[in-house]
């Protein structure tokens, strides 16, 4: 699904829809045709809503013809990770365990807001079971594969949204991120993915995992597209009392601020260096050079308690997830996939006192990191999203599957915004991701830095061998 030379983005498709160069029905038909061809190889969808999607697309075209413009998502095909409920159909969380009645609540605020903005919901996308664990070949669900090399994983857990965007089956979609589940598949699939500030986007209507670590956010080709989706889905909702009060700034409106005068902190902790391959670190260096060439200054920074933030996030989210899953784990142990149940059960090995201590360390560490970047005058932090490109299903490099290669969890612990954008390829031709992190509430700045980077590079417009 693209024009002659470059893939569609939400930005370019919205412009084409507004100019009349294409209709939403044409765009949606092409998206569904791409899914007909590619989904059997890539395992993107758990459920498709072709009939309602085409009907919504026709409505969007009629609305536009009548002079109604609902914004950049009007008539755009999007996918929804199958841990969010939708009006159209069942929610499985890619599990045999989830009670079908859970999904009968229908649209939560995020899906409802997308729908109100005119988005065309094409279906529910694959995940790791309950958004945790690893691909499970023993269960009757699709295995999401990487369109850059189907012998490689998409990353998880927002796997289907990640490979669906990369392969051109959808122009964007919704992912969730408890330890990196938006940013990891964004990096592995060569797209952009934004984990918002905790509480910016309401989480009701989504199966919980780590209750204080969960985030819902956009996954698209570009930072511009992520900003357009975030403009729609951000904002408080009474159904989620963790949402932040007050209006948010316009994220698309803030994209053109540029990076001139910004001070960028390049994360230099040993855990990042030892948990990343040389090609990845080289790509980070090249990305920083692009940003400094655009007027930013860069400084290396050692973040205090970085290891504790990484490790503590894993431990605490397991405990929080166990609290939600304990009744069903006790009743239906064998119905969970083995990777999922073994991960969740580790939450039973963490005591109540341990969880309190994890929360206390989280507070101390968050404040210490904030003090450090304040003292250094740093506006945003950057580093690799992951240390390596997409891992193989079998025979993976041990370094690449070591938890130390995942550089996303600290920002679930702090709740700060973190965007992953493509920054190049490894020697195997697999995408690498640059992570851009800001203070709480600075999603607009993080997205603007990503946008500035993408104005100077075209990594985000590269298409994989398996593409529409």
């Amino acid at each position: 699904m693209s024009d002659a030379t470059t893939p569609w983005t939400i930005e370019t498709a919205a412009a084409a829809l507004r100019s009349g160069a294409i209709t939403s029905v044409e765009l949606t038909t092409a998206a569904l045709a791409a899914a007909d061809r590619l989904d059997p190889q890539l395992g993107t969808y758990l459920a498709r809503f072709d009939k309602t999607a085409l009907a919504r697309a026709a409505d969007a075209d009629a609305e536009r013809a009548a002079g109604t413009d609902l914004g950049p998502l009007h008539g755009i095909p999007l996918g929804i990770k199958d841990i969010l409920a939708t009006d159209e159909g069942p929610t499985t969380a890619q599990s045999l365990v989830l009670d079908p009645a859970w999904g009968e609540q229908g649209d939560g605020p995020v899906v409802a807001r997308l729908r109100a903005a005119g988005a065309v919901i094409t279906g529910k996308t694959t995940t790791m079971e309950f958004a945790i664990g690893r691909p499970d070949f023993a269960k009757p669900f699709p295995i999401p594969r990487n369109p850059w090399n189907p012998d490689r994983w998409t990353g998880g857990s927002s796997s289907g949204t990640g490979n669906g965007v990369a392969a051109g089956m959808i122009l964007g979609g919704i992912g969730t991120d408890t330890g990196g589940s938006i940013r990891l598949p964004a990096a592995y699939n060569g797209i952009s993915g934004h984990k918002p500030t905790y509480g910016l986007v309401p989480k009701s209507g989504c199966v919980p995992l780590g209750l204080t670590y969960d985030h819902i956010g956009p996954m698209c080709r570009s930072a511009w597209d992520c900003a357009a989706m975030l403009d729609v889905i951000a904002g408080p909702d009474p159904s989620d009392r963790t949402t932040l009060d007050g209006p948010h700034p316009g994220f698309v409106a803030g994209l053109e601020r540029g990076v001139a005068g910004l001070r960028i902190g390049v994360i230099a902790n040993q855990r990042v260096r030892s948990g990343s391959g040389p090609d990845t670190l080289s790509a980070v260096g090249a990305a920083v050079a692009e940003l400094t060439a655009a007027g930013a200054t860069a400084v290396e920074v050692e973040l205090p308690y970085y290891d504790e933030l990484c490790v503590g996030a894993f431990l605490a989210l397991q405990a929080e997830a166990f609290a939600w899953h304990r009744p069903t784990l006790a009743a239906r142990w064998a119905d969970y996939g083995r990777p999922t149940r073994l991960t969740l059960a580790q939450g039973a090995l963490i005591s109540g006192g341990d969880l309190v201590q994890l929360e206390r360390v989280r507070q101390i560490a968050r404040r210490a990191v904030l003090d450090t970047i304040d003292a250094e005058g740093i506006d945003v932090l950057v580093g690799p999203t992951t240390g390596y490109g997409a891992t193989a299903f079998t025979g993976a490099d041990p370094a690449a599957i070591d938890p130390k290669a995942l550089h996303t969890p600290p920002w679930n612990a702090t709740g700060w915004p973190a965007l992953s954008v493509p920054m190049g390829f490894d020697p195997d031709g697999l995408p690498l991701g640059l992570q851009i992190i800001g203070r709480a509430g600075t999603d607009d700045l993080v997205l603007a830095v990503g946008h500035a980077y993408q104005q100077r590079t075209a990594w985000h417009l590269q298409t994989p061998p398996l593409h529409a």
């Binding site: 504790e308 083995r338 059960a345 039973a348 963490i350 929360e359 360390v361 101390i364």
Partner: protein, 72 residues
């Protein structure tokens, strides 16, 4: 399990993990108890390192405020 002692020995880990899982109401096959027992010493070491952070009188993030309404 003791947090003021060394990491549990491997032969203790199976019994410890089995006890904790049973206390949580989980009926876990022996081979999976053994797998969790392999992971447990590392988990415990990671957790015990958290107690080395000087947290003083730090209050957890999950604050309780009596004046706030609860979930509806």
């Amino acid at each position: 399990m003791s947090t003021d002692d060394d990491t549990p020995r491997a032969d203790d880990a199976v019994a410890t993990v089995a006890t904790l899982l049973a206390a949580a109401g989980l009926q876990v096959p022996d081979n999976e108890v053994e797998r969790l027992a392999q992971l447990y010493p590392g988990l415990r070491r990671s957790m015990d390192r958290m107690y080395e952070v000087p947290t003083g009188d730090e209050v957890p993030a999950a604050l309780f405020r009596a004046g706030e309404g609860g979930p509806r």
